[in-house]
Amino acid sequence: MASTPILTLAGAEKLLKSLEEFLDKSESMFAMVIDRGGTILSQTGRPPESADIVVLAALAAGSFAATRELATRVGESEFNALYQQGSHFHILMSAADDDTMLVAIFGTQTTVGLVRFYAARTADHIAIQMNELRAAVHDAPPIFTEEDLNATGQVFENTPPKV
Protein backbone atom coordinates (compact mmCIF):
# COMPACT_ATOMS: atom_id res chain seq x y z
CA MET A 1 0.00 0.00 0.00
CA ALA A 2 1.37 3.41 -0.96
CA SER A 3 1.67 6.05 1.72
CA THR A 4 -1.05 8.66 1.86
CA PRO A 5 -0.18 11.93 0.17
CA ILE A 6 -0.08 15.33 1.77
CA LEU A 7 -1.82 17.88 -0.38
CA THR A 8 0.54 20.82 -0.59
CA LEU A 9 -0.74 24.05 -2.11
CA ALA A 10 1.21 23.43 -5.30
CA GLY A 11 0.15 19.78 -5.42
CA ALA A 12 -3.50 20.65 -4.92
CA GLU A 13 -3.28 23.22 -7.69
CA LYS A 14 -1.80 20.67 -10.11
CA LEU A 15 -4.52 18.14 -9.34
CA LEU A 16 -7.19 20.77 -9.80
CA LYS A 17 -5.72 21.84 -13.13
CA SER A 18 -5.83 18.24 -14.39
CA LEU A 19 -9.44 17.94 -13.28
CA GLU A 20 -10.46 21.22 -14.89
CA GLU A 21 -8.84 20.19 -18.15
CA PHE A 22 -10.65 16.86 -17.98
CA LEU A 23 -13.96 18.56 -17.28
CA ASP A 24 -13.50 20.90 -20.18
CA LYS A 25 -12.47 18.28 -22.74
CA SER A 26 -14.86 15.53 -21.69
CA GLU A 27 -17.75 17.97 -21.21
CA SER A 28 -18.56 16.36 -17.87
CA MET A 29 -20.48 18.22 -15.18
CA PHE A 30 -18.43 17.32 -12.15
CA ALA A 31 -15.20 15.49 -11.39
CA MET A 32 -13.31 14.61 -8.26
CA VAL A 33 -10.21 12.71 -7.19
CA ILE A 34 -10.76 10.53 -4.14
CA ASP A 35 -8.68 8.07 -2.21
CA ARG A 36 -9.77 4.50 -1.65
CA GLY A 37 -11.00 5.39 1.82
CA GLY A 38 -13.51 7.77 0.24
CA THR A 39 -11.78 11.06 1.06
CA ILE A 40 -11.95 13.86 -1.51
CA LEU A 41 -8.54 15.08 -2.63
CA SER A 42 -9.71 17.49 -5.31
CA GLN A 43 -12.94 18.44 -7.04
CA THR A 44 -14.30 20.74 -9.70
CA GLY A 45 -17.52 21.41 -11.59
CA ARG A 46 -21.12 21.37 -10.47
CA PRO A 47 -22.56 18.16 -9.01
CA PRO A 48 -26.24 17.33 -9.55
CA GLU A 49 -28.46 19.40 -7.28
CA SER A 50 -29.02 17.94 -3.81
CA ALA A 51 -26.01 15.63 -4.14
CA ASP A 52 -23.74 15.69 -1.09
CA ILE A 53 -20.28 15.18 -2.56
CA VAL A 54 -18.78 13.88 0.70
CA VAL A 55 -21.36 11.11 0.67
CA LEU A 56 -20.85 10.58 -3.08
CA ALA A 57 -17.13 10.08 -2.47
CA ALA A 58 -17.66 7.54 0.32
CA LEU A 59 -20.17 5.59 -1.76
CA ALA A 60 -18.01 5.72 -4.89
CA ALA A 61 -15.01 4.36 -2.99
CA GLY A 62 -17.13 1.58 -1.48
CA SER A 63 -18.81 0.72 -4.75
CA PHE A 64 -15.56 0.64 -6.70
CA ALA A 65 -13.81 -1.47 -4.06
CA ALA A 66 -16.72 -3.91 -3.89
CA THR A 67 -16.89 -4.35 -7.67
CA ARG A 68 -13.12 -4.77 -7.93
CA GLU A 69 -13.31 -7.44 -5.22
CA LEU A 70 -16.11 -9.12 -7.13
CA ALA A 71 -14.01 -9.15 -10.29
CA THR A 72 -11.04 -10.57 -8.41
CA ARG A 73 -13.17 -13.37 -7.00
CA VAL A 74 -14.27 -14.52 -10.43
CA GLY A 75 -10.64 -14.57 -11.50
CA GLU A 76 -10.48 -11.22 -13.28
CA SER A 77 -7.31 -9.32 -12.45
CA GLU A 78 -7.96 -6.38 -14.76
CA PHE A 79 -10.37 -3.84 -13.31
CA ASN A 80 -9.78 -0.19 -14.05
CA ALA A 81 -13.13 1.46 -14.49
CA LEU A 82 -16.74 1.27 -13.41
CA TYR A 83 -19.60 2.89 -15.29
CA GLN A 84 -23.09 3.57 -13.98
CA GLN A 85 -25.64 4.50 -16.64
CA GLY A 86 -28.64 6.53 -15.59
CA SER A 87 -31.41 8.32 -17.43
CA HIS A 88 -30.15 11.85 -16.66
CA PHE A 89 -26.77 11.44 -15.05
CA HIS A 90 -24.04 8.91 -15.59
CA ILE A 91 -21.08 8.13 -13.36
CA LEU A 92 -17.68 6.89 -14.47
CA MET A 93 -15.09 5.82 -11.92
CA SER A 94 -11.55 5.22 -13.15
CA ALA A 95 -8.64 3.92 -11.10
CA ALA A 96 -5.62 6.23 -11.20
CA ASP A 97 -3.47 3.95 -9.05
CA ASP A 98 -4.06 1.42 -6.25
CA ASP A 99 -5.08 4.16 -3.84
CA THR A 100 -6.66 6.87 -5.94
CA MET A 101 -9.52 7.17 -8.38
CA LEU A 102 -11.17 9.70 -10.63
CA VAL A 103 -14.95 10.06 -10.42
CA ALA A 104 -16.78 11.85 -13.22
CA ILE A 105 -20.46 12.71 -13.36
CA PHE A 106 -21.86 13.68 -16.73
CA GLY A 107 -25.18 14.22 -18.43
CA THR A 108 -26.60 13.79 -21.90
CA GLN A 109 -24.53 16.61 -23.41
CA THR A 110 -21.56 14.28 -23.88
CA THR A 111 -20.91 10.61 -24.58
CA VAL A 112 -19.49 7.85 -22.42
CA GLY A 113 -16.83 7.17 -25.05
CA LEU A 114 -15.50 10.71 -24.86
CA VAL A 115 -15.56 10.74 -21.06
CA ARG A 116 -13.84 7.34 -20.91
CA PHE A 117 -11.13 8.45 -23.30
CA TYR A 118 -10.23 11.59 -21.36
CA ALA A 119 -10.72 9.87 -18.00
CA ALA A 120 -8.07 7.29 -18.88
CA ARG A 121 -5.60 10.02 -19.86
CA THR A 122 -6.39 12.13 -16.81
CA ALA A 123 -6.10 9.10 -14.53
CA ASP A 124 -2.54 8.58 -15.82
CA HIS A 125 -1.67 12.21 -15.06
CA ILE A 126 -3.22 11.93 -11.61
CA ALA A 127 -1.18 8.81 -10.86
CA ILE A 128 2.04 10.72 -11.60
CA GLN A 129 0.94 13.67 -9.49
CA MET A 130 0.01 11.41 -6.59
CA ASN A 131 3.46 9.83 -6.67
CA GLU A 132 5.00 13.28 -6.44
CA LEU A 133 2.73 14.17 -3.51
CA ARG A 134 3.59 10.96 -1.68
CA ALA A 135 7.29 11.70 -2.13
CA ALA A 136 6.74 15.07 -0.45
CA VAL A 137 5.27 13.50 2.72
CA HIS A 138 8.61 13.43 4.51
CA ASP A 139 9.25 17.15 4.01
CA ALA A 140 5.97 18.30 5.54
CA PRO A 141 6.18 20.16 8.87
CA PRO A 142 3.77 19.10 11.68
CA ILE A 143 0.53 21.05 11.43
CA PHE A 144 -0.05 20.88 15.18
CA THR A 145 1.67 19.44 18.22
CA GLU A 146 0.59 17.53 21.29
CA GLU A 147 0.93 20.77 23.22
CA ASP A 148 -1.61 22.41 20.90
CA LEU A 149 -3.94 19.50 21.51
CA ASN A 150 -3.63 19.80 25.27
CA ALA A 151 -4.80 23.38 24.99
CA THR A 152 -8.04 22.39 23.27
CA GLY A 153 -11.32 21.24 24.79
CA GLN A 154 -13.41 18.29 23.69
CA VAL A 155 -13.01 17.18 20.07
CA PHE A 156 -16.79 16.94 19.72
CA GLU A 157 -19.38 18.93 21.58
CA ASN A 158 -22.58 17.17 22.48
CA THR A 159 -24.98 19.93 21.51
CA PRO A 160 -28.41 18.52 20.73
CA PRO A 161 -30.37 20.56 18.19
CA LYS A 162 -33.00 22.82 19.72
CA VAL A 163 -36.54 21.47 19.37
Binding site: P5, L9, A12, V54, V55, P142, E157, N158
Partner: protein
Protein backbone atom coordinates in the same frame (compact mmCIF):
# COMPACT_ATOMS: atom_id res chain seq x y z
CA UNK B 1 -3.33 7.41 7.46
CA UNK B 2 -4.86 10.84 7.79
CA UNK B 3 -5.06 13.12 4.79
CA UNK B 4 -3.66 16.61 5.21
CA UNK B 5 -4.92 19.19 2.78
CA UNK B 6 -2.89 22.39 2.94
CA UNK B 7 -5.02 23.98 0.24
CA UNK B 8 -8.23 23.72 2.32
CA UNK B 9 -6.40 23.77 5.66
CA UNK B 10 -8.00 20.56 6.82
CA UNK B 11 -6.95 17.17 8.06
CA UNK B 12 -9.23 14.17 7.66
CA UNK B 13 -9.42 10.96 9.64
CA UNK B 14 -11.37 7.75 9.30
CA UNK B 15 -12.75 5.96 12.38
CA UNK B 16 -14.41 2.56 12.03
CA UNK B 17 -16.90 1.15 14.53
CA UNK B 18 -16.39 -2.62 14.60
CA UNK B 19 -18.12 -5.38 16.53
CA UNK B 20 -20.47 -8.36 16.37
CA UNK B 21 -23.91 -8.27 14.76
CA UNK B 22 -26.55 -6.21 16.60
CA UNK B 23 -24.09 -4.83 19.16
CA UNK B 24 -25.16 -1.22 18.51
CA UNK B 25 -22.62 0.20 16.03
CA UNK B 26 -25.27 1.87 13.88
CA UNK B 27 -27.07 3.11 17.02
CA UNK B 28 -23.85 4.84 18.11
CA UNK B 29 -23.67 6.74 14.82
CA UNK B 30 -27.37 7.55 14.89
CA UNK B 31 -27.04 9.02 18.39
CA UNK B 32 -23.98 11.08 17.41
CA UNK B 33 -25.85 12.32 14.35
CA UNK B 34 -28.82 13.37 16.49
CA UNK B 35 -26.67 15.38 18.90
CA UNK B 36 -24.18 17.21 16.71
CA UNK B 37 -24.99 20.72 15.53
CA UNK B 38 -26.26 20.90 11.96
CA UNK B 39 -23.27 22.91 10.77
CA UNK B 40 -20.82 20.26 11.91
CA UNK B 41 -22.36 17.14 10.45
CA UNK B 42 -23.17 15.66 7.07
CA UNK B 43 -25.80 13.18 6.14
CA UNK B 44 -25.92 9.82 7.95
CA UNK B 45 -25.93 7.26 5.17
CA UNK B 46 -26.93 3.67 5.89
CA UNK B 47 -26.60 0.92 3.34
CA UNK B 48 -28.91 -1.53 5.04
CA UNK B 49 -31.08 -4.54 4.24
CA UNK B 50 -34.87 -4.37 4.26
CA UNK B 51 -34.71 -5.52 7.88
CA UNK B 52 -32.48 -2.54 8.78
CA UNK B 53 -29.37 -4.65 9.23
CA UNK B 54 -26.19 -3.04 7.92
CA UNK B 55 -25.36 -4.50 4.52
CA UNK B 56 -22.28 -2.53 3.52
CA UNK B 57 -21.62 0.32 5.92
CA UNK B 58 -23.05 3.35 7.69
CA UNK B 59 -21.25 6.59 7.08
CA UNK B 60 -21.28 9.88 8.99
CA UNK B 61 -18.97 12.79 8.14
CA UNK B 62 -18.28 15.23 11.00
CA UNK B 63 -16.41 18.49 11.44
CA UNK B 64 -14.61 18.82 14.75
CA UNK B 65 -12.26 21.28 16.42
CA UNK B 66 -9.93 23.69 14.65
CA UNK B 67 -6.32 23.39 15.75
CA UNK B 68 -3.79 25.97 14.58
CA UNK B 69 -6.17 27.03 11.84
CA UNK B 70 -6.52 23.47 10.56
CA UNK B 71 -10.03 22.06 10.56
CA UNK B 72 -10.20 18.47 11.78
CA UNK B 73 -12.72 16.28 10.00
CA UNK B 74 -13.71 12.77 10.94
CA UNK B 75 -15.49 10.19 8.85
CA UNK B 76 -17.24 7.60 10.99
CA UNK B 77 -17.98 4.23 9.44
CA UNK B 78 -19.55 1.07 10.76
CA UNK B 79 -18.99 -2.42 9.38
CA UNK B 80 -21.72 -5.02 8.92
CA UNK B 81 -21.48 -7.30 11.95
CA UNK B 82 -22.92 -10.46 10.45
CA UNK B 83 -20.29 -13.17 9.94
CA UNK B 84 -21.08 -13.65 6.23
CA UNK B 85 -20.09 -10.08 5.38
CA UNK B 86 -16.39 -10.44 6.10
CA UNK B 87 -15.31 -9.35 2.60
CA UNK B 88 -17.27 -6.14 3.12
CA UNK B 89 -15.67 -5.53 6.51
CA UNK B 90 -12.26 -5.79 4.89
CA UNK B 91 -13.22 -3.12 2.37
CA UNK B 92 -14.53 -0.75 5.01
CA UNK B 93 -11.32 -1.12 7.03
CA UNK B 94 -9.26 0.27 4.16
CA UNK B 95 -7.35 3.42 5.12
CA UNK B 96 -8.69 3.23 8.67
CA UNK B 97 -7.05 5.56 11.20
CA UNK B 98 -8.69 4.40 14.43
CA UNK B 99 -11.17 1.80 15.66
CA UNK B 100 -13.95 1.64 18.22
CA UNK B 101 -14.69 -1.96 19.10
CA UNK B 102 -18.29 -2.17 20.28
CA UNK B 103 -18.93 -5.23 22.43
CA UNK B 104 -22.36 -6.50 23.41
CA UNK B 105 -22.36 -6.73 27.22
CA UNK B 106 -24.91 -9.54 27.43
CA UNK B 107 -23.56 -12.82 28.82
CA UNK B 108 -24.78 -14.89 25.88
CA UNK B 109 -22.87 -12.64 23.43
CA UNK B 110 -19.39 -13.25 24.80
CA UNK B 111 -18.45 -15.79 22.15
CA UNK B 112 -19.58 -13.45 19.39
CA UNK B 113 -17.57 -10.61 20.93
CA UNK B 114 -14.41 -12.70 20.99
CA UNK B 115 -15.00 -13.99 17.48
CA UNK B 116 -15.52 -10.48 16.16
CA UNK B 117 -12.43 -9.18 17.95
CA UNK B 118 -10.31 -11.94 16.45
CA UNK B 119 -11.85 -11.23 13.07
CA UNK B 120 -10.83 -7.59 13.46
CA UNK B 121 -7.23 -8.60 14.19
CA UNK B 122 -7.18 -10.89 11.15
CA UNK B 123 -8.66 -8.29 8.84
CA UNK B 124 -6.20 -5.65 10.03
CA UNK B 125 -3.32 -8.08 9.51
CA UNK B 126 -4.43 -8.57 5.89
CA UNK B 127 -3.76 -4.87 5.41
CA UNK B 128 -0.47 -4.92 7.24
CA UNK B 129 -2.03 -3.21 10.26
CA UNK B 130 -2.18 -4.25 13.89
CA UNK B 131 -3.91 -3.23 17.10
CA UNK B 132 -0.43 -2.60 18.50
CA UNK B 133 -0.02 0.39 16.21
CA UNK B 134 -3.50 1.66 15.46
CA UNK B 135 -5.43 3.65 18.10
CA UNK B 136 -8.48 1.76 19.34
CA UNK B 137 -10.69 1.46 22.37
CA UNK B 138 -13.49 -0.72 23.68
CA UNK B 139 -17.09 0.20 24.27
CA UNK B 140 -19.18 -2.19 26.39
CA UNK B 141 -22.62 -1.46 25.04
CA UNK B 142 -26.13 -2.45 26.12
CA UNK B 143 -25.50 -1.85 29.81
CA UNK B 144 -29.24 -1.33 30.20
CA UNK B 145 -29.97 -4.99 29.47
CA UNK B 146 -30.81 -7.26 32.42
CA UNK B 147 -28.23 -9.97 31.87
CA UNK B 148 -24.90 -8.22 31.38
CA UNK B 149 -21.37 -9.26 32.25
CA UNK B 150 -19.44 -6.94 34.60
CA UNK B 151 -17.01 -4.55 32.87
CA UNK B 152 -13.96 -6.19 34.47
CA UNK B 153 -14.97 -9.50 32.88
CA UNK B 154 -15.29 -7.85 29.46
CA UNK B 155 -11.90 -6.24 30.05
CA UNK B 156 -10.51 -9.65 30.95
CA UNK B 157 -11.86 -11.09 27.69
CA UNK B 158 -11.07 -8.29 25.27
CA UNK B 159 -8.52 -6.05 26.92
CA UNK B 160 -5.98 -8.50 28.25
CA UNK B 161 -3.06 -7.23 26.18
CA UNK B 162 0.36 -5.74 26.90
CA UNK B 163 -1.07 -2.22 26.69
CA UNK B 164 -4.63 -1.96 27.94
CA UNK B 165 -6.80 0.48 26.06
CA UNK B 166 -9.59 2.66 27.50
CA UNK B 167 -12.97 0.99 27.81
CA UNK B 168 -16.37 2.63 28.24
CA UNK B 169 -19.69 1.37 29.48
CA UNK B 170 -22.44 2.53 27.18
CA UNK B 171 -26.07 2.41 26.29
CA UNK B 172 -26.15 3.73 22.75
CA UNK B 173 -29.94 3.93 22.63
CA UNK B 174 -29.94 6.57 25.40
CA UNK B 175 -26.55 8.02 24.49
CA UNK B 176 -24.77 7.01 27.68
CA UNK B 177 -21.06 6.67 26.93
CA UNK B 178 -21.42 7.44 23.22
CA UNK B 179 -19.67 10.83 23.26
CA UNK B 180 -17.11 9.68 25.86
CA UNK B 181 -16.20 6.96 23.38
CA UNK B 182 -16.07 9.28 20.37
CA UNK B 183 -14.14 12.04 22.12
CA UNK B 184 -11.59 9.62 23.55
CA UNK B 185 -10.90 7.78 20.30
CA UNK B 186 -10.64 11.09 18.43
CA UNK B 187 -8.18 12.45 20.94
CA UNK B 188 -6.11 9.25 20.91
CA UNK B 189 -5.98 9.56 17.14
CA UNK B 190 -5.03 13.24 17.17
CA UNK B 191 -2.30 12.61 19.75
CA UNK B 192 -0.86 9.78 17.66
CA UNK B 193 -1.00 11.96 14.56
CA UNK B 194 0.77 14.86 16.32
CA UNK B 195 3.45 12.60 17.82
CA UNK B 196 4.21 10.94 14.51
CA UNK B 197 4.42 14.27 12.71
CA UNK B 198 6.71 15.69 15.39
CA UNK B 199 8.90 12.59 15.31
CA UNK B 200 9.14 12.74 11.53
CA UNK B 201 10.09 16.41 11.70
CA UNK B 202 12.81 15.68 14.25
CA UNK B 203 14.14 12.78 12.16
CA UNK B 204 14.44 15.01 9.13
CA UNK B 205 16.63 17.48 11.06
CA UNK B 206 20.43 17.04 11.22
CA UNK B 207 21.45 14.50 13.89
CA UNK B 208 23.39 17.13 15.90
CA UNK B 209 20.27 19.19 16.40
CA UNK B 210 19.63 20.06 20.06
CA UNK B 211 16.12 18.62 19.89
CA UNK B 212 17.09 15.39 18.13
CA UNK B 213 16.68 13.55 21.42
CA UNK B 214 13.00 14.46 21.40
CA UNK B 215 12.39 11.92 18.64
CA UNK B 216 13.43 9.05 20.87
CA UNK B 217 11.07 10.25 23.58
CA UNK B 218 8.20 10.52 21.14
CA UNK B 219 8.71 6.96 19.99
CA UNK B 220 8.35 5.54 23.50
CA UNK B 221 5.06 3.67 23.93
CA UNK B 222 2.68 5.63 26.10
CA UNK B 223 0.26 3.86 28.42
CA UNK B 224 -3.29 4.79 27.58
CA UNK B 225 -4.47 4.79 31.13
Amino acid sequence: MAIINYANKEVQFKIVYYGPALCGKTTNLAYVHSQIAESNKGELVSLATAADRTLFFDFLPLNAIVIRNFKTKFQLYTVPGQVIYNATRQLVLRSVDAIVFVADSQWDKMEENIESFRNLEENLARQGLSLDTIPYLLQFNKRDMPNVAPPHYLDFLLNDRAVRVPSFEACATTGQGVFDTLNTISRLLLVKFAREAEAAAVRSRPSGSPIAGLAAGLRQPQPNR
